[in-house]
Symmetry: C2
């Protein structure tokens, strides 16, 4: 409960412009990009400095007010839904790129910096920040860290956690700490940096981020291959790796996704094909040419019905944009689009896609699958309508089976979206009840009063209140 | 206190051949590679399976017996000294390479596998495990994980933590858990994998490890450059990076180290030079040629008095072996050799080396410096004699100043050795007392009875007993 006195204290910390609690404003922060989850916060507060974050957290901690750190709310696991009400800590004002250090190849930024803005800023120096989640034009780096966002370059370049070198973070107690820094090697105590990345705002608030950068690859080239069978596409992926080639990007779309994307982006894709691979290699020109030629050969040897190489960088970018539009394109089909990210070891890709098809048939659902083939990170996406209660029940059952199938294949319930609210019932499949208990104890080490994003990751504490449906 | 009844229970778990408590045997496990630290354990037990580890831990936990997991004892932070006595859990029998998965590019191994044995095994498949700590021919992968070992390839390839994808681990309670796996992307809950790596055996016992592999680079080439000034060498390192070249290895030796290494390995180095860089690039032939030519040019432009490129792979390997022998060579000079690993952001390399020289002069000590220039990871190494109490006191003061200097330059107290006993007094410099308190609470989440490697990382609990000096 936020009393007028507490609200006054919030105002004295950040100023009255940055404390919002009108019904319209609360509504705007009641949902994120995850369909079918919504709950109103009690107040939205927008700090501009670590000091303000610290003062707000101390106050919230004292009064047992839930705190939900938030960037752009693009996450797909309902991780920023204020399921127990409380204070949405909206961090978009902390959006400065503090430094691009060209000697140590690092960037130091506020959590509110937009991912694509950082890309652009470092590319101006010939540098490269590889993580490129689908939402990168909207998402913030703070949000990327909270969820350990992935993207299309996971196989060759890794994901967000592989680029976080140092953090400033604030505990619920208000204490401001730093971990890591600009050192390539640093083993002074436990690796707090990696623990905070992917913790979904349940441990602390990240207020400054030092990221590792790479030299920008000299060039890149894009190849499309179309297959009459799913297995041939998966074999191509396997044999490219077996040939010791690690492409920057290896994206997969099934026939359903191809159709929808083609209609949306007017690409003239051969829609009679069962699946498509979009492969990109980057690096020095001579190497890129050699790798793309080898990949084309491998695709043909594995039954690709056609292989095209983009003639120019622009053409390559257009193809990649088409792949990036898959979710938007699919979203136009039906009122509700549920995108999941069941993930398997790369060698089980074909098995997993087949499982998704079998399960979609079994429950009579429209599920299209696309994703990051090189990572085994699939996005089975269900087009449905949340008003159709019967169908939604079948959707839930189907996804439960999809997650179980991923685990049976040595995979995981989430590759890059996170657990949040959307998957907390499935987490025991992956880490066991004992593993969850251990994580709860780690959370208590940071947040003994359980104010940080309560109800997320861990089941059993998700008491919902004031749910307003869209 | 280990009673005859408890000893009998150890024997019933692992068999009488694998429980050691004769004075000679206890003595052999009373020290590791860190000079001037020694303490006798009460018993040494050598399990062969996770089940045995689990049973041993449950028993130790019940009776409050300290447990010190141990591989080959090559660590340099006194992390495996049984400073409170107890049970040394010697893991060398868990030395099977369970699987090399050429499709998913992973290796799954027991913690007792020797690092160099894994290198050899995966290279037979054209694959590559980059971490190469100095002790790799003796050290175990379990030990590498416990300390988050580094090596010569940190800049381009990262360190141990960057290659750990999945673990099986045992809690003091005896519970056997798994985290991570073969998935390139996996965000199901907190990243336990990265938390356990570098935790120095204070949280749990690692019983199985899944490591990421890369394709083995096609070739490599080695370049030596000699400089009449330290600053020129540091500028060369900076400008190579500024030219967007990331070499596989960039090693630095000062004049003192060069002299000792040359005497040991008979290389005919130009000993009038003030410093030397050994740079190696790997990758496809055409790229390696281009990079090595660019690096040679940059070195010359920055005042290198001479630049040599190894004519053959064998010649390159010989030069690298010479660098690898630096510690052995330095160890021959005086009875006691103390190697440290103060680390700074790469751009502060020259400043840090100058600080080390200034501090060595101030305390009238012989300190040679070599290390991983690309990482800013330096190994100032003091040749001394532990019987000379007066000098040892000056050594302690000098290193305290060296660590403070590293921190002042934005660096850290340890880049790749760990905290252990040797540096626990310096940890507050890097993470603050509050940061240490947070780490203590995390430890308690794993190990509520404080049986796991007690006295390490955290100061104040290092009650010594039965110290036997060499």
């Amino acid at each position: 409960m936020i009393t007028p006195e507490i609200k006054q204290q919030f105002i004295s910390i950040v100023g009255s412009d940055w404390v919002k609690d009108s019904p319209n404003e609360l509504y705007a922060y009641s949902y994120d990009a995850t369909p079918m989850f919504q709950s109103l916060p009690d107040v939205v507060v927008m700090p501009a400095t670590s000091g303000e974050v610290s003062a707000l957290l101390r106050l919230a901690n004292e009064h047992g007010i839930p705190v939900i750190p938030r960037g752009s709310g693009t996450n797909l696991a309902a991780s920023t839904i204020p399921v127990q009400g409380g204070l949405v800590l909206q961090l978009h004002r902390m959006n400065r790129i503090h430094e691009i250090d060209t000697q140590n190849l690092t960037a130091t930024v506020g959590p509110g910096v937009i991912t694509a803005d950082l890309h652009q800023a470092v590319e101006a120096y010939g540098l490269f920040y590889p993580p490129d989640p689908g939402s990168m034009r909207i998402s913030t780096l703070g949000g990327n860290l909270s969820q350990c966002a992935g993207g299309m370059r996971g196989l060759k370049y890794g994901v967000t956690k592989d680029y976080v070198m140092g953090l400033e973070y604030v505990l619920p107690s208000g204490e401001i700490f730093r971990c890591g820094g600009k050192n390539v090697k640093d083993v002074a105590g436990y690796d707090m940096t990696r623990l905070l990345v992917g913790s979904e705002g349940t441990l602390a608030v990240i207020t400054e981020i030092t990221l590792k950068l790479l030299p920008l690859p000299e060039t890149k080239r894009t190849l499309l291959a179309f297959f009459t069978s799913l297995v041939d596409a998966a074999k191509t992926v396997e044999q490219v790796i077996a040939a010791k080639i690690i492409p920057a990007t290896m994206e997969f779309m099934d026939q359903g996704t191809m159709r929808v994307v083609d209609e949306y982006a007017k690409l003239g894709l051969p829609l009679e094909m069962k699946s498509m691979l979009l492969i990109e290699q980057d690096g020095p020109e001579e190497l890129v040419s050699k790798d793309i030629a080898s990949i084309a050969e491998i695709a043909r040897a594995n039954g690709a019905a056609s292989v095209e190489v983009a003639a120019t960088l622009e053409e390559g970018a257009k193809l990649l944009t088409a792949r990036r539009s898959a979710l938007s394109a699919l979203s136009r089909i039906k009122p509700t689009t549920i995108m999941e990210d069941a993930t398997v070891p790369r060698s089980r890709l074909a098995d997993m896609v087949a499982e998704v098809e079998r399960i979609a048939d079994k429950y009579d659902l429209q599920i299209c699958t696309f994703g990051h083939a090189g990572d085994g990170n699939l996005h089975p996406t269900c087009m449905t309508d949340e008003r159709n209660k019967q169908e939604i029940e079948r959707v839930e059952q189907a996804f439960a089976e999809i997650f179980a199938a991923a685990i049976a294949l040595g995979g995981t319930i989430t590759g890059e979206h996170g657990v949040g609210l959307a998957k907390l019932n499935y987490l025991p499949l992956k880490v066991g009840e004992g593993g969850i208990e251990l994580m709860r104890r780690i959370k208590a080490a940071f947040d003994p009063n359980h104010i940080m994003n309560p109800g997320k990751i861990f089941a059993g504490s998700a008491r919902r209140r004031m749910v307003v449906r869209r």
